[in-house]
Symmetry: C2
Subunit: 358 residues, 2 copies
């Protein structure tokens, strides 16, 4: 259809619907101010009667592009989501890369008990690809991901693996991180090391535990399940374990704790202080994430630096490659499972004086 | 058109385009997996020839709804955007309320020198309403906002006013905040108070300065422009002013500084420490935002608590009321200019010993 033909038919649509041509343009091309629902319906009906599919609309559907990169996030109760270092960094990395590639970011908050209807986002053309943060290894999640894969919808997991499945993912080498933490503590003269982990629905929890177990065994120190305590990655859950740690110190001579994230480590630090226990003197403590606050605690916390910004950035870059491939613009992109390295950052919370080891 | 009629015409479209009926459904209703661009175009052309506007598509355009709440954010160079307390809190508040109202959040990052083409977001049906964070009082911003208003596109500013314009906005009472900070310092015995402000393109900077000036004058203390220093709200810009403050302490007996945000206050604290100046003893220091880190600095920082989460939440709630009104679902919503109260939280950085005042 030429521009002139399109102009003529729009005029007819306007007459039939009893509205101005400007209104027809607004409804059918989506330009200008909003139009009342009833008016819009009248225009659409007139267009249908007159055999007219506006080309802007046709194009949109032909291209099947939203220009949006979806990010699915858990809506954590009583937590201001973006205030947590983890989500902030990952999202910043995703946002920066999406922007460079000309994509906007659609944030999709998921309530804990809400159905995981991820494939619908693609069916409704809300997103061209999606990154899933905080995925859990539970049946409903596995189902939703299987549906995405079956529909060939491009998606990528961040910091999560599913045993037996090969999904696109970008993760950190958490296993090596925990191993390095154990080795560092052994060098400081520690021998009785506890591990404060998060829930095992996150593969990162399982990986960290595995690294801890393996490093102990390599050093000829038996792995004792009762030295693995459980929190839920919140500060409070770390704080709540202070009494248990104090008891283990008295009864079993525990001399170090590795916490699976900084928030639990900071909570534990506070709890231990209240018990009169000095971290960095009476006991060593290591966190994980190397978030911005660990430099400011007293004492500053040794922590495993995880490149969250880079994880987000890499996930967005690889996923948008896959999106381009799915829409036929690029040659095939192989599925990807990327693991970025982590690094132990030593600070006073785990640096014992020579005198202590004497 | 009945469901049966629609089925028949879809069959014809499929024949004409030389594809399966399932493919026609996928293209025209947006269900299932993506379809190659060329195939989609063939289906669209066949539908046009056969006088067929699929009802799902018609409905979408009739309703003119994206289900997205847009959030326009500055892409700050070299800053991980979400790591900053301000953006994190505001976004969490917006996200929580949007979710409750059934909206998704579309984040739109704006480069500093990028054209501010906000109205296009509505024309392209990417958003139903939009919140603008970090708006600056510069001509291009004023133009873009005027265009939004002219097009009756629902929008809301956060923490920004434009003199001479009445735009929907949610803000904090920064003026009273600075006034309270000055009064608190006067009670502590301080008399020579500096103000470290941010750029005046932000109305919040101007409001804070005005509160400082007014409280001084009410106390009969002259306002001296040379005691107002300028940063850019970054930590580094606060750090850079430490030498200037040290000089003012020696030469003019400066005994307190109010910084217009916590990040500058923390930078200044670090800089002063390096100069051998003890905050809370040699000089009082007050920040603004009451971000999570001010409890952890040494000494902990007195700061003006700004309810950023509530600001975001309120902005989203009022804006979505306006969106409902614009689409004719609700009776008229008046334009809103909301100011939420702030509160001074006292900590050791500004609490002088009695002995000091003796």
């Amino acid at each position: 259809m030429t521009g002139r033909e399109e102009g003529l038919i729009r005029k007819k649509v306007a007459e039939l619907a009893g509205v101005s041509e400007a209104t027809v343009s607004r409804v059918l091309s989506g330009g200008g101010a909003a139009v009342k629902e009833e008016t819009a319906r009248r225009v659409i009906e007139a267009a249908q009667q007159l055999n007219y599919v506006p080309s802007a609309l046709a194009q949109r559907f032909a291209l099947r592009r939203s220009g949006n990169l979806g990010v699915i996030l858990p809506m954590l109760p009583k937590v201001n989501l973006f205030s947590t270092y983890y989500f902030s960094e990952v999202l910043s990395g995703i946002g920066m890369t999406a922007k460079q590639r000309g994509y906007d970011l659609l944030l999709l908050f998921r309530e804990p008990d809400e159905p995981r209807n991820y494939a619908n986002l693609f069916r409704m053309q809300k997103v061209d690809g999606c990154i899933i943060i905080g995925a859990q290894d539970v049946p409903s999640e596995r189902e939703a991901l299987a549906e995405l894969k079956e529909g060939s919808h491009p998606f990528c997991l961040v910091n999560q693996r599913f045993e037996g499945e090969t999904y696109n993912s970008v993760d950190a080498d958490q296993r090596t991180g925990s191993s390095e933490a154990v080795k560092h503590l052994l060098e400081q003269g520690c021998r009785q090391i506890c591990f404060l982990n998060g829930p095992s629905v996150y593969s990162n929890s399982r990986d960290r535990l595995e690294g801890y177990r393996q490093a102990l065994e390599e050093a000829g120190i038996p792995f004792l399940p009762e030295r693995v305590l459980l929190g839920n990655y919140s500060r409070k859950s770390g704080y709540m374990q202070a009494k248990a740690i104090a008891t283990l110190m008295r009864e079993q001579g525990i001399d170090a704790v590795i916490a699976a994230n900084d928030r639990m480590a900071i909570g534990l630090l506070q709890g231990l202080k209240e018990q009169g226990i000095k971290v960095g003197e009476d006991i060593a403590l290591i966190g994980c994430d190397d978030s911005d606050v660990v430099r400011m605690t007293d004492p500053p916390l040794t922590s495993i630096r995880v490149p969250f910004f880079e994880i987000g950035s890499e996930a967005a870059a690889k996923l948008l490659d896959a999106v381009a491939q799915a829409s036929g613009e690029e040659t095939a992109v192989s599925p990807f499972e990327i693991k970025l390295p982590v690094k132990l950052i030593e600070r006073p919370s785990s640096m014992f004086d020579e005198s202590m080891n004497a």
